[in-house]
Symmetry: C2
Subunit: 340 residues, 2 copies
């Protein structure tokens, strides 16, 4: 298996992507194509321990341009030879099995969509993120790919989420819920209310609306939302955790006994933090396109890059894209009706 890694992406660029990719190559026995500015990649590679850097499975593919984290979508047209676009092209041409990027999410989504094209039956792609819950994990779909959604887009997300959880996580007939602001059918905005009506009629294990607090409760295995709401929800979670940590630090340093308390709990608090830390679980799957793509958090460290690559490997091994396409074809009639 061969994974193309956008070496220039992310807040830290090659400094973390190269080491993360090298570790993934060593740990999972796969090939990695580091796509980006050759010199910068080589500099980082040469600083790594030889057991990581001298791996014949690591190759560099030159791409002279890089898309910044704040750039708009027109960078796609201005920068034809960006690491992102060259990487996507490698996958398109069958020279790599999947693309992994920590870069500008909007750009990754746009370029992947343009180069791979949509799956038959899917109008908008969705970023699917597995979040750990008290009971296991829940797939939140979409967390930022498609920010303007109509009800039938949410229905398509539900189908993709279902197939993902079945094929990757081995969960049979996962419970699917709609992110809303109250459990009753009447709660929500115009879009979610119409989506609710449609979801209830389909051959899905649809359990109805859930609220923001249920992302982490494990009530459903798939929570469907438009990309705007999903992204806000995700970032609120990060903000709460960050705020709690700084409050705890501020509060605890005031008191000697509390400091001892914190010291005794440290190992356990770290374990909890890891359980909820976004960067630990790697990234989100971009579903609904003809190609495997994993989008990592901009702030990813080496470990997160390695984990994102592992996610791509698993998706390819489990033939997730193919399964989604097959299921969509099987559902063709139903999905066609839904658009009306």
């Amino acid at each position: 298996m061969r994974i193309a890694v956008d070496a220039m992406g992310g807040d830290y660029g090659p400094k973390v992507t190269v080491e993360g990719a090298a570790r993934a190559a060593a740990d999972f026995g796969i090939e990695v194509l580091l796509v980006g500015q050759r010199e910068k990649i080589e500099t980082v590679l040469n600083q790594l321990p030889t057991n990581l850097s001298q791996n014949y499975k690591i190759k560099i593919v030159d791409a002279p341009e890089a898309i910044g984290m704040g750039e708009g979508l027109f960078s796609f047209y201005r920068k034809r030879r960006s690491s992102l676009q060259v990487g996507a092209q490698l996958v398109k041409e069958g020279r790599a099995d999947a693309l992994v990027s920590m870069g500008n999410t909007a750009a990754v989504v746009y370029i992947s969509q343009k180069i791979f094209g949509p799956l038959y039956g899917i109008d908008k792609p969705a970023l699917a993120l597995l979040v750990p819950t008290l009971q296991g994990s829940t797939l939140l779909i979409d967390v930022g790919a498609s920010v303007n959604c109509r009800p039938h887009h949410l229905v398509q997300f539900a189908f993709m989420g279902k197939i993902f959880m079945e094929s990757v996580m081995g969960i049979d007939n996962p419970r699917i819920a709609l992110m809303s602001i109250g459990e009753e059918e009447v709660k929500g905005n115009d879009i979610t209310r119409e989506a609710f009506e449609r979801l209830a009629k389909l051959p899905l294990n649809f359990i109805g609306n859930v609220e923001g607090r249920d992302i982490y409760s494990g009530k459903a295995e798939v929570i469907v939302s438009d990309g705007f709401t999903g992204n806000v929800a995700l970032k609120v979670s990060e903000g709460v955790v960050e705020t709690l940590l700084s409050l705890a630090k501020k509060e605890v340093t005031k008191n000697f006994l509390a400091k001892i308390g914190l010291f005794l709990m440290k190992k356990h608090l770290k374990k909890i933090y890891r359980q909820i830390d976004y960067s630990e679980y790697g990234g989100a799957h971009l579903l609904g396109i003809k190609g495997t793509c994993v989008v990592g958090h901009g702030r990813s460290n080496c470990q997160a890059v390695r984990n994102a690559i592992r996610m791509a490997v698993e998706t390819v091994r489990n033939k997730v894209q193919e399964k989604i396409q097959a299921e969509l074809l099987r559902m063709e009639g139903i999905i066609y009706d839904l658009k009306l």
Copy 2:
């Protein structure tokens, strides 16, 4: 001052609303009108210590019906004599200065809107919630009153938020931000992008987009959002805190030293929890209507009911509604243009 309290509202009904209201009457020297089923209210009142219950400032106003937490908006027409409607009518007729309810948010919003009517220049009401941040507090507007918003509604929310922070919190020219999924102007959905453009042209201290994580960072004093997104954001926060607490309990009970650690930190953790606990800060202000209304969390305890009443008292004392209306009239030309 006289506050009408919907005694039947909330998950626990009179059991907590009556005691909360009695405490508020004692603590703030105000009159409270307990609106609801007389017998049920009297039963709870008689169980309270006499220094609370024998206060001549507590009066009962009979309202035979109650609107359940899951009821739809038609309850407004079916239940003309609900505690909520009778309470709102008391305010409308000038027999009370403000309404406080822990009830079904959708019903409180709908009934207040119907009975009080909108402020001149405001098309949709908004629930404004003060959340504590690392630097002070931020007003999140709207957290659930208006779930289908057009760009000009968001602009109206910005104005109301600004006036609220100036008149109640004494913050001069508060920084106003738009909740979105990235800081750049191009980030967001169609609605927020158009709202961004309009906000940037107005005489407001508009600092641009913020992300979900910034609710608690203190980057802005007012964060504007449609009611759907704002409500999801709020409930995600609650969910994260609840999840962290149960993870911590589970993790810590496994280990003796960690237990001692937790014991030593307990007082401090409680302090942090209070700082972020929704029920502590009482409730949200319903802005944009001709009357003062505070909506508390359904799960409010006595303390939260008391705090919600205090919020109503402060709003009336600071003449917030009048100030919002005056400012809207001053801005009339601008606001009219915005609707075009």
